[in-house]
Symmetry: C4
Subunit: 286 residues, 4 copies
């Protein structure tokens, strides 16, 4: 086996997702990432850290070793190692192992260990590659299509929140917890999103009246993103539903009451027969 | 009357739901279950327990006796007693009466009495059997059809909540109540679902800015499940309509109050008859 | 003018809504009801009550006198006075004036004055009569059509809330504020509706994990009523939109792409001409 | 260059938006407005104000000078200066600069400086003029079309909130924080909008039961505005589609990617040309 063949085989396993070995590699990697995240999270709990600090450290060293080997293999089998090292996921991969080495050599720097939580980003790469979550495409596309509307919505919320935050700062003042306009804006966001911590609340009757108005106004305004996403999803799902293929041009995407193919003008099958695929919509999809 | 006939008659009454006697049995059972639940709930209130402990105990013994008789009868008349005893509802039925006997013989074990609240599960069996809630099929089917999308949504929420929880743990630190990453995640869930207890709140300006971002981000993301369920319900409700076919042109998609086909003008079947499939949508499926 | 004519004319003014005098009467009445409600509300504020108690009392006497005259007139001009007195609104009308007389003669009974707030119910009668809020029909009908689905939804919520409330009572116990199962249920409702007062919150890690689960579960379940109402409204609005009249049978309610009247089978006008009424949907409505 | 030409050129730059110079002017203005808002907001934070008071004051003088020059130029180049001065935006423009002069000459009046936050309103004018946010038309039109339904909804909420607020005032009383009916209404709004600050909470079991009812009732009622806006948006988005007519059978309702009429199979106009009306939906209307 030449070195090039080995390189290529490694590449197919590590970067690819379609071979059985590639799938096994991805599965092991995802288990390792999630396990290392759980160790990191449990390590932050004082009660657990006191008792199992040593075990957590050993596990962390094992995971770091695994991820280091994986990183070096990726560098080795990648056709352009420097391109990989500079890519988004290349940097994430490095940041996922570097803190442990730094903490080992410079114990004082242990607080940067939190950067290791970026490992969670590595899950995205695997999910993206294997595309085993077909439905997420629909959701992501819907969000992408609504993004301009959502941007406008957030601009409106930003302006409203500034006005109400400043208004409450003037009405309530520092003596009631509204110590600055940014704090007033913080209160307005808590109120308009209906989170309502209760750490900053109006004390004066006028302030409470304005707060009540903010809540009601906020509530009906926040119905807007739900409306946008629902309407968009509705359109998307309808487009997906009509999996009928035109017998002439084999294109799909026809509305349920269409008589002729909208792509080539060929006559379509009877609408009542077409109802069938609605019940099993997944098979023909990519 | 032979024993087999008695067994069968009991079976029809206890397990069946279509005979008047079976319906009466189900009604009595559901009243007994709800009454016993109310007694259990009231028994947990110190003020009531102090005053009526004896009455509560007597009522509990009566209900347990009733459910024991019912359990034995079910065992007796069931064609395969062991299969019933091992089934999901067989175990629930046993767990609903066992704690009272255990608490009677081992008074120290009275805290396990809470298991009796599993009786609430028994209501589901009766509801499932009598199917008197036809509309719930539509709701349950909608939720079932959306489950993959909802799973994806929850994965995205889990990742977001981990990132924001860890971020706040780093920013705020133990001195401001964020004593560990799990606590940060707890805060992130409280914030992203807009519950907002206010027991863990950011104290630093930077933490409050990140919290404001979490709220706004969380709000627009949480519009997604609403959108999914609404769009799915919309399609389901439309699908209900299109069950009627025009006898003339065999096209579907007519509104529930239509008398004539909107495609060819042919006369449709009687609307009162057409209402039928809407009310029993399950048979033709699966 | 005979007494009967006077009676009838009074009846038309007081109970009717179509004559100019009837409309003026309704308008005066609605202003009086709202004014008297504002006086009652302000009277409950200690600071205002201390300063203007006398003025509030005088205004209340004036309103009571007005409503008493109105009540007597209604009794007088009603064709069946006893039927009116026993009707729902007849009782409300009496309850709206009685407390003031009782408080006058038995000063100790002044706390029952709160019953006067039932006057707010009287607004409904006027709104119902004048029907000046046409759109509310659509909303009310939508809610009415969804009521079975909403009932099922609330049953599911009730069962969930009982299970989670009892679970938290067992996990957290009285020492952490969960003093009884009803208090646990109260906590579960606060959490599942995302209100989140923060007066009862879990203290133990296990309790917080269950709380986080409740929030996420609750949130996706609570998307259901929004979905139900939206889907129902969508159907209703679509039905409303197609205000096209069939030239043959003059019935409306056709879908936007219908070619033939679904009521009589008569041919309809061109769909592209029918798009016009969509822009001015109110005039032809009843 | 005559004075009239200068006036007109200035007018085109300052009031117009279509020339490159006009666009540049708008961009500079919007940056200046947002910068001056940030300075005002930071100035309200005690920590920043202590350290950079002088720098903030200088920046504020510069912005005021800029806006003053702009205001004078607008007055100068406007065809009817007095009409501009009395217009809505003319008054806003004046209020945006006046407080700084007042604070300079009467230092005691510095608290009115908050009026300068009205500058945020000036952003709206620019956005409105340049119309670079086409999608916002759809959102605004949807909200405008739903406004009657939303008004009815708010009336219903107002009545419910009054009833529940008064009920809690009677049940809980001043000793539990419900010191007056308005405070009860404030609590009811906090609860029904699911904000849930927790500053006013029921203490008695009966009060908590009513609160639980308010939450559940409130939640299902608040699904209504979401439903209204979603259904309206859905209709609006569908209406966008049906602008294309088939040249053969003159029917509309085609999907945006259709090449052939789905009713008769006739060829449709080029999709790229058809996209046009979707992007500029306002011209043909009203």
């Amino acid at each position: 086996m030449t070195q090039d063949t080995l390189k290529h085989q490694l590449y197919v396993i590590i970067f690819g997702t379609h071979t059985p070995a590639g799938k096994r590699f991805d599965l092991i990697l995802i288990v390792a990432i999630i396990s290392s995240l759980i160790v990191l999270i449990l390590d932050s709990v004082p009660a657990f850290a006191d008792q199992w600090q040593k075990e957590f450290d050993i596990l962390e060293y094992i995971f770091t070793a695994m991820f280091t080997v994986e990183y070096l293999l990726r560098l080795y089998c990648s056709p352009k190692p420097s391109a990989y090292a500079k890519s988004f996921y290349g940097v994430i991969d490095l940041l996922a192992i570097l803190p442990t080495y730094l903490a080992f050599f410079f114990p004082a720097a242990s607080f940067i260990g939190i950067i290791r939580l970026l490992r969670v980003m590595r899950i995205f790469r695997i999910l993206k590659l294997v595309r085993f979550l077909q439905d997420s495409n629909l959701l992501v596309r819907t969000l992408a299509m609504s993004q301009r509307k959502i941007l406008i919505f957030f601009s409106a919320v930003a302006i409203l929140v500034t006005i109400f935050g400043a208004l409450m700062y003037v009405i309530e003042g520092p003596e009631n917890g509204f110590t600055s306009i940014p704090r007033g804006i913080y209160w307005a966001i808590i109120t308009i999103t209906t989170v309502g911590y209760g750490d900053v609340v109006p004390q004066t009757p006028l302030g409470q009246a304005v707060a009540a108005l903010t809540m009601l106004l906020g509530y009906s305004i926040l119905a807007v993103p739900t409306g946008i996403i629902t309407a968009e999803l509705n359109q998307e799902m309808k487009a997906h539903r009509s999996l009928v293929l035109c017998p002439n041009c084999t294109k799909s995407g026809h509305e349920t009451d269409a008589l002729f193919c909208k792509h080539c003008g060929g006559e379509l099958a009877d609408p009542d027969q077409r109802v069938v695929p609605v019940k099993h919509p997944s098979p023909p999809e990519e």
